[in-house]
Amino acid sequence: MSEELQGEGGPTVRIVGGTVVDPVAKREFRGDVLIENGAIARVAPAGEIAPIVGVTTIDATGLIVMPGAVDMHVHLREPGFEYKETIESGTRAAVAGGVTSVACMANTRPVNDCPAVTRFILERAQAAAAARVHPIGAVSVGLEGKNLAEFAGMRQEGIVAVSDDGMPVADAELMRRALECAKLFDIPVIDHAEDPSLAAGGCMHEGAISLRLGLRGIPAEAEEVMVARDIALAQLTGGHLHIAHISAAGSVRRVRNARAAGIRVTAEVSPHHLWLTHEAVIAYNTHAKMAPPLRTEEDRQVLLEGLVDGTIDAIASDHAPHHRDEKDVEFDTAQNGVVGLETLVPLTLRLVHDGILDLPTAIAKITSEPAAILRLPVGRLDVGAPADLALVDPDREWVVEPASLKTKSKNTPFEGNRLRGRAVLTLVAGRVVYDERPSAAAATRQSA
């Protein structure tokens, strides 16, 4: 990791008057935070951290002060697809959305299946100096589903998980071996659970709407059968299985039962699966096309239940930028995926606004929980933890306009939606990496 992001010698900053959200202690209170040397030095009730001569004070009145979000499922596209996104543009989009750590998927070109690619990604991230980047290595060489990638070398360079995301591991034996080897390095295997034979040729959820539109469907069971298979393999191996972008009610029930049986399985859900259904596809909207597909209202309700009862640990954007030319085409030939880094925080806060989760629990789903799955020291407010913070205006309303997003691609299914909540100041290792407070200069004052 870059020394700059490590924050040695970072500024001393005092953040006062905000609503501090501690996702680990599940507490929210009016409080102050002191940052020294890039780390959290003190968290205290409001007014307890006195002004210090020469130290920057940030007035967080009316704002949430939370650990920066950890988006554990992001496609940064570099190397190989820089026309969609670069590590620079993607991490700039991240911090603009209050996301301070991203885990990036391996389906680049070349694939991140060897240490050299992992190192390249980390070097580019260091140069970009925005959000922290945690590469995810491939499960198989070239994502081909045949031979295991170089887990050891990639781990030494810094991968935090392995996944063939986008190319589900069809071969059960390969998945078994991946779980066994990942255990050696104490990293999870992130599972894009979608049986390729059941999903073949499909481009949306199979149901009444796919029939109406004449689009080939992907049954929910395409996900559930692979979730079931891989839970059995997690039990066999003792490895840590993490289900990516869980979308189907049946999958949630299987994960719930597996956890009750003590099997090491965790799960994440994307905001689009939480808030949209297959009805968004009507009129052949390619911005509603992704893998796994948007499903039914019943599935959506079960996903919400899964978040509430803890079956689903984390919310991750599955940020998947695509060029306009890859979306403005016939629905069946359009690329899968949507951008999501800049809408992750407001779409998570919607759970609070709608009374589904309390604030600390909702914030935990995008901070401490994903950090724990990836064994990262971020996403928490403990003294000594890296001072990665997001200051969020929870009530600020804004309309999603693709043109004003920082990401290089504009494929959001939430275009035109009015969202509530927005990051206004983001710090990584105590340094301001994003600031869009109305009068940034006026709000920051030197204490006398």
């Binding site: 199979e206 149901g207 009444a208 029939l211 539109l213 689009l215 052949y284 629905f331 069946d332």
Partner: protein, 339 residues
């Protein structure tokens, strides 16, 4: 005019009044094809582009004849002739065509929703001539017209549609049209080709052919794609015909005055026996004749009401005051009578 939509992308969502208006208009155009000089000047000076990204003989020819009988100029592009093979996107093809100011684009495309995509990129009427497994509205209109001619009504009839419903745009368009007009629709075929979700769209699902056609007023056979019937959906054509080939035995289960439709081209001995196809109940040739009339009506309704920018300005006052009905009615009568 009762049909104010800019395009004909499908029958889903059309009202019974709109469907009836299209059928009535088609009926008034049938007479043109009976004349010695089979041409009326209704669309003189208008250009209709036929854009076929999928092989088609009868639909393409039917649209061409329809346009020519209305005196429109027609240009037909097939996949080989267009830029599609050179890697141009459909959106770009659409923009290029739009720049040539056509008055309508008739499109057949293997991707469901391609006509919707075109409609987003051009401002002339788009007529869907079949998109993937989505809709084939003019085919269903000609089926509705044929049924109405023979039965005098559509409401209250029982229509059995037999075959590969899963991949059939004809089946879907007919389902929407027939249901809107008040008919009962049964989808008949093996479970691999008749998804249970069709029930949510208003179809009754039957897997046994003889049960499916029992007491039916209308039997509509769908074409079976040979390549789909080898392995996954059914083990072989032979196996399929064993259960679903419409034989005289099966027809005997239907009402005595049943009529039998087929969108063509037929696979004799696969989905329909020759005895039935050539028998007294078959109205297949009427369908073909009605196809031209329905397409003339569609083109006339969508294109005939469009004016050039200048005319539009002049006509706008009349339009706003709701005085459209009369000139359109006159135009329609003139077109039909060839005045």
């Amino acid at each position: 005019m009762l049909f104010q939509r800019p395009h004909l992308l499908g029958l889903e969502g059309l009202t019974a009044d709109e469907l009836t208006f299209l059928l009535d208009t088609a009926e008034s155009f049938k007479e043109v094809s009976e004349r010695e000089i089979k041409k009326v000047p209704a669309l003189r000076g208008r250009t209709v582009v036929n854009l076929f990204f999928e092989p088609s003989t009868r639909t393409r020819i039917s649209f061409e004849i329809a346009a020519k009988r209305l005196s429109a100029d027609t240009v037909s592009l097939s996949t080989q002739a267009s830029s599609a093979s050179k890697g141009e996107t459909l959106a770009d093809t659409a923009r290029n065509l739009a720049a040539m100011r056509p008055d309508a684009i008739v499109v057949r495309h293997p991707s469901s929703g391609a006509p919707d995509l075109l409609a987003r990129h051009v401002d002339c009427p788009i007529i869907n001539a079949g998109d993937g497994a989505h809709e084939h509205p003019t085919q269903a209109l000609l089926d509705l017209l044929t049924i109405r001619e023979h039965k005098g009504r559509i409401e209250g009839l029982t229509v059995a549609i037999v075959g590969d419903l899963l991949h059939s745009r004809v089946g879907r368009s007919n389902l929407h049209g027939l249901r809107t007009m008040g008919a009962r629709v049964r989808f008949v075929g093996p479970p691999t080709l008749v998804s249970p979700h069709f029930a949510e769209l208003g179809a009754e699902l039957v897997h046994d052919l003889h049960e499916g056609v029992r007491d039916a007023d209308v039997i509509m056979m769908l074409r079976i794609q040979r390549e789909r019937m080898t392995g996954r959906y059914f083990s072989s054509l032979n196996e399929y015909s064993r259960l679903y080939c419409l034989s005289a035995d099966a027809v005997a289960k239907a009402k005595e005055d049943v009529i039998i439709l087929h969108p063509g081209p037929m696979n004799r001995g696969v989905e329909i026996s020759s005895t039935v196809a050539d028998g007294p109940y078959s109205v297949i040739m009427d369908q073909v004749t009605n196809g031209v009339a329905v397409r003339m009506a569609t083109l006339f309704v969508l294109v005939g009401r469009r004016r050039s920018g200048k005319d539009k300005d002049e006509a706008s006052d009349a339009e706003e005051s709701g005085a459209m009905e009369q000139p359109e009615a006159v135009l329609l009568r003139r077109a039909a009578t060839g005045e």
